[in-house]
Amino acid sequence: MTGSEKVPVVTDQPETCRVADAEEKSLLRKVMDNFADHCRSRSLFVLHYCTGCGAIELPPTITSRFDMERVGVSPMVTPRQADLLLITGYLSVKTLKRVILSYEQMQAPKYVVGFGSCTINGGMYWNSYATVKRLDQYIPVDSYIAGCMPRPEAIQQVFLDLMAKIDAGKATAWQDYYLNYDAYLGRQMNLFGQDWHTPTDVVAEAKHYGYVGNGTTGEHTALLDQRATWSLDTVPELYPARGRNERSRP
């Protein structure tokens, strides 16, 4: 091999995606990242989305019998302050919308655990027209717990596994939402219709976190861009009360 030949660089990430190379990841930075991951894994705040019957297994998991706070896992009441979204049981089309809204409000890094057979393939509601079959088609999922219902031991096990994954820096499913947002949005639109959009600007977040990939934007996010030109002034018929108040003002 002569010196003029280019050696092809093989990466498993798309080229436009920002990949930290060895120089950039200095030793200090690595140490800081490892330390941060270690701390994150020891302090998980869980938002449990209790629409399914799986929620009944959480009180024993949280309270004194199994006491998940021993390992640093604690319940949280709002998505913005939570690290882990626990989907406890089946999701209908209606509740999936709310799950996506909650998920997008969470601050990265964020983790999702699908709880029970229903989040994997619809479970016992497999042939229901209203029950969503695969949760990981609509939001990225880090772990699943099989079972109908999973016992608190299984829930504790998934917490320990997830902690080990976070500690090792391998719980990166949330990055996939930014890297392949167009595909996720397309599947959401298949279910909810072309008008579906959320208040969160996911593409801007992807740029902020530096996870813009080939799949971040596409034909579906283009639909969102068209809608972004809407404002209170361009669609005044939607807000008649506001117009009346303005006119009556002296």
Partner: protein, 180 residues
């Protein structure tokens, strides 16, 4: 409101006296089944509510009968004084699938009729609100009809989990795998 007291036998007598040709079956100590012509149903509900104390419309249920091409509507009314449930059964033709609303007799009927309209496509004339109720982003036919093929809809709308993924072959080669 004056309520005529008495045993269920007197209820049967009263109903049969007021609406001739009606069939009242006593199904249990506190259950009455009433089969009535559909045109007489509003009069029957008025009678049950006004004179016999059946003031609580607890449900309207709908059954799709494709063999006879009919919808069966069942109006369940409850009397707190008599502690008796009366179920009035009527049938309406599936096509055009229209019936009169009983919202003016029992206000909660508005919700039940809206639900049945969404799930079966029955139109209730005079109902205050028949807009979409529970279904989300629904573009298909009324899903509770027997003619609605749920499995076909599910296969078109959702994707299934791969039950034989590649990584399972590695597990099976080592003697593990899914328990059958």
């Amino acid at each position: 409101m004056t309520v005529e007291t008495g045993t269920p036998a007197t209820i049967v007598d009263t109903i049969q006296h007021e609406i001739p040709g009606i069939k009242v079956t006593k199904q249990g100590e506190r259950r009455l089944r009433i089969d009535v012509a559909r045109d007489s149903l509003p009069a029957l509900l008025e009678l049950l509510k006004g004179r016999l104390g059946f003031i609580h419309l607890s449900a309207i249920s709908c059954v799709d009968w494709p063999e006879t091409d009919e919808f069966e509507l069942v109006y369940h009314v409850w009397s707190y004084e008599r502690k008796t449930l009366a179920s009035a059964h009527i049938t309406i033709p599936r096509n055009p699938g229209r019936f009169v609303s009983v919202y003016d007799i029992h206000t909660p009927a508005g919700f039940y009729e809206r639900d049945i309209h969404e799930m079966f496509g029955v139109v209730f004339v005079g109902a205050p609100n028949l807009r979409p109720f529970i279904l989300t982003s629904w573009g298909g036919p009324p899903p509770m009809l027997k003619s609605f093929n749920t499995r076909e809809y599910v296969n078109q709308t959702y994707e299934w989990v791969d039950y034989q993924p590649d990584w399972l072959k590695d597990v099976e080669a080592k003697g593990g795998g899914v328990e059958k």
